[in-house]
Amino acid sequence: MAELLRRLLRTPQGLLGVLIVGLILVIVVCGPSLAPYGPDTMAPRLRYRAPSAEFLLGTDQYGRDILSRLLYGARSTVILACLATALGTVAGALIGTTSAFLGGRADEAIMRTIDAILSIPSLLFALLIVNLLGKSSFSAVMAIGIAFTPGMTRVTRSVALAVTKQDYVNAAIARGERGGYIVLREMLPNVVAPIVVEMTIRVAFSVMLFATLSFLGLGAQPPSSEWGLMVAEARRFMHLSPWMILWPSLAVALVAIGFNLLGDGLRDALNPRT
């Protein structure tokens, strides 16, 4: 583990990724205690302020401090995005490994179904699911999780196919192990490395997809300070104060870039050949 971290910090993208994701984690954990004001504290006379010493990032249409709202909103935005990605990853990893293990006709049936689902754009698919489940953060998490599953299944299966050929899987079959044990204990631990890399990259997509859903009014609901929702609300007041839309957009972009860099770094660090 320490060796992995050292290898990760040796590459520039890994170092930068760790720094940005570390900063985001700090904000997620202690954001509310760092915030100078409450997220919903209104000041009707101090609306649409540009950044100043009093309000570092300015104020919004109700005079709420944007910095405080961003710090509070990090929790819902980042945690929900990670949750959705984790959901998609676990489901995809299980289906992909099982499919590779079963092989033959069952593999064909599973993978062709996955291909069919994969052909629906993930945003459209997420919209469909949210419409079915109703508007809420929970259904947005489910929607993104399910929308990510087919992609993860493909990635996992391609790695798991190579693992199926290994003799330890043959040895387990010859020993008379159950399929469940072989998939969970023999195969899954050996496909984890590429999955982790794919997952960090997908967290970035997930944050953006989440923001998009909230922007369309299908994810978090006001007065939540979820970043996508903040962008959506600020859109109407863009001409009065461009800062309102700029800051949450930058925050989303930073998270996306951070996780992307971390994923790139991890891919190099986990591959001993580089």
């Binding site: 003799d167 330890y168 043959n170 010859a174 008379g176």
Partner: protein
């Protein structure tokens, strides 16, 4: 006058933990017409020396000493001088002909390229010369062979082409890096004969690298033994074999399997009911695609096994020999339910016709040990978990420590991961896993072929000991005829998926083999020469 001379040469490789010494003050010299055999186990630095001579080392490697070809120092030579020397004055033959030839070029193009590049021939001349070289190395229909791609030629034919291109420019020195290891015994024998013939004719100075002492003793004039980067022994072949000075050489010589030195005493009880009977077992690879089945088309299937019938007595060691692709491993896979098969297996009075019939009892009693311990032990599990699985599945009061002790490993190894063990230790763990369920039959699929000779001897000794104590029957699959003659009670010879001969070990020494293929196999692997210990 020495053609190649290595003087006080040391080589260090950079690793994250600092420099690691790969070669330590090596002194070697090869004269014209001489063959120097360089012997060593894996990791001893044999191949590093070959690459050092070819001047193809990682950029950060650190070197000392000198390597010279004739009067020219190779270490002082510039890049362009080296480029002119490689292929022209020093040739190289690699271990695996299937990876050393470019799959996208025809054999003729690759051979002609060498000639055009180093001898300045025109393309037409080079092609004609290449064809002559092909004929020279004993390839039939050289003109047709020139137009073939590597995948259209057999392993032996490809290695002949590689040898042809090494000899093509009449170099002063050729390095042979295990040229026969990837080939079948019969083919390997033919390649060795070709080597001896060409060597005598061209009087090239050869460095013959191998892990196989017996083989080196047949081809080389001088032999050098490399152990952990040091030359521990160097001298004429007869001197080294008759009176080895170094302890390591002695151990190496003692570890070479000798067919007349039987390791197993006694015989399985005659007249007992057979433990396993294999009845006309066939395996076919490749399934008919759905659409072809609908259209009624038949797809030609590859036969892995054709109607193999044999039986194993309780406590018997049945050796199965044959070249690669002869269906030895296919038989092992069929018996453990890893492939579909036709025919039947009779085990403990039950008739098993497919994977579904293999119940818990069968799985417990029939265990398998695979060739590569690297791939048969899950890299993410500790030894404790690996060994505990058969115990949880089949019960048994044995403890992990007792299992480890049985294969002569310290109990502390239970907490290790496979990558923290050496190759021989890993194979011992795999053996311990197979024996954990107290099986009646253990299938050993080439279990020693990825190990070094000295490690192989220890593993074989362990197997014999386990057999004596537990009375387990073995199906011992190997391509090493000398090894199997030390162990087996009976030997089954397989050739192209068929069982061609099944002979008793006593008959083998008295009447000899009957089938011509068996005879060919035995001629290809003469027993190693005697040495005085």
């Amino acid at each position: 006058m020495n053609v190649l001379e290595v003087k006080g040469y040391s080589l260090d490789y950079p690793t994250p933990a600092g420099f690691v010494r790969a070669l330590d003050s090596i002194d070697l010299a090869i004269a014209r017409g001489e063959v120097l055999g360089l012997v060593g186990e894996s990791g001893s630095g044999k191949t590093s020396l070959a690459w050092a001579i070819m001047r193809h080392l990682p950029p950060r490697a650190r070197e000392q000493g000198d390597i010279s070809l004739g009067s020219q120092s190779l270490m002082a030579a510039t890049e362009s001088e080296i480029a002119a020397i490689r292929g022209r004055r020093i040739g190289m033959v690699f271990q695996d002909p299937s990876t050393s030839l470019n799959p996208t070029l025809t054999l003729g193009q690759q051979l002609a390229e060498v000639l055009a590049r180093h001898r300045g021939l025109t393309r037409r001349q080079a092609w004609a010369e290449g064809e002559a070289m092909m004929a020279r190395v004993g390839l039939k229909q050289p003109a047709a062979m020139m137009h073939r791609y590597p995948h259209e030629a057999s392993g032996g034919e490809k290695q002949r082409v590689v040898i042809a291109s090494a000899f093509a420019c009449q170099p002063e020195c050729i390095l042979f890096d295990e040229p026969t290891t990837a080939l079948d015994v019969v083919t390997a024998r033919q390649i060795l004969d070709l080597f001896a013939e060409l060597q005598a004719e061209t009087a090239v100075a050869s460095l013959y690298i191998s892990h196989d002492l017996a083989l080196v003793s047949r081809v080389a004039d001088h032999v050098a033994v490399l152990h952990r980067g040091r030359l521990v022994e160097h001298g004429e072949v007869d001197a080294v074999f008759d009176a080895p000075r170094d302890d390591y050489t002695r151990r190496l010589l003692a570890a070479v399997p000798r067919p007349d030195h039987r390791l197993v005493t006694g015989k399985p009880a005659a007249g007992a009911d057979p433990l396993v009977e294999v009845e006309r077992l066939s395996v076919h690879y490749g399934r008919t695609p759905f659409l072809s089945a609908l259209a009624g088309r038949r797809i030609a299937q590859v036969a892995g096994n054709r109607a193999v019938s044999l039986s194993v007595q309780p406590g018997e060691i049945l050796g199965i020999v044959g070249e690669s692709g002869s269906g030895k491993s296919t038989l092992a896979r069929a018996l453990t339910g890893l492939t579909r098969f036709d025919g039947a297996v009779r085990f403990a009075g039950r008739r098993i016709t497919g994977r579904r019939d293999m119940d818990r009892g069968y799985r417990r009693d029939v265990q398998i040990v695979f060739q590569h311990p690297d791939s048969s032990l899950n890299p993410r599990q500790r030894v404790r978990e690996i060994l505990s699985r058969p115990l949880t599945l089949y019960g048994g009061e044995a403890r992990i420590e007792a299992l480890l002790e049985q294969v002569r490993l310290p109990a502390a190894y239970a907490e290790r991961f496979p990558h923290q063990l050496s190759g021989g230790e890993k194979q011992r763990v795999a053996i311990a896993r197979a024996f954990a369920s107290r099986p009646k039959l253990v299938i050993c699929d080439e279990i020693t072929s990825s190990l070094d000779v000295s490690v192989q001897a220890a593993v074989v000794e362990l197997l014999v000991d386990l057999q004596r104590r537990n009375g387990t029957a073995y199906l011992f699959i190997t391509h090493d005829l000398n090894l199997v003659r030390q162990l087996a009670h009976r030997i089954a010879v397989m050739y192209r998926g068929e069982l061609v001969e099944l002979l008793d070990i006593d008959d083998l020494s008295t009447t000899g083999p009957r089938h011509p293929y068996t005879r060919q196999l035995m001629d290809a692997v003469p027993p190693p020469r005697e040495y005085k210990s």
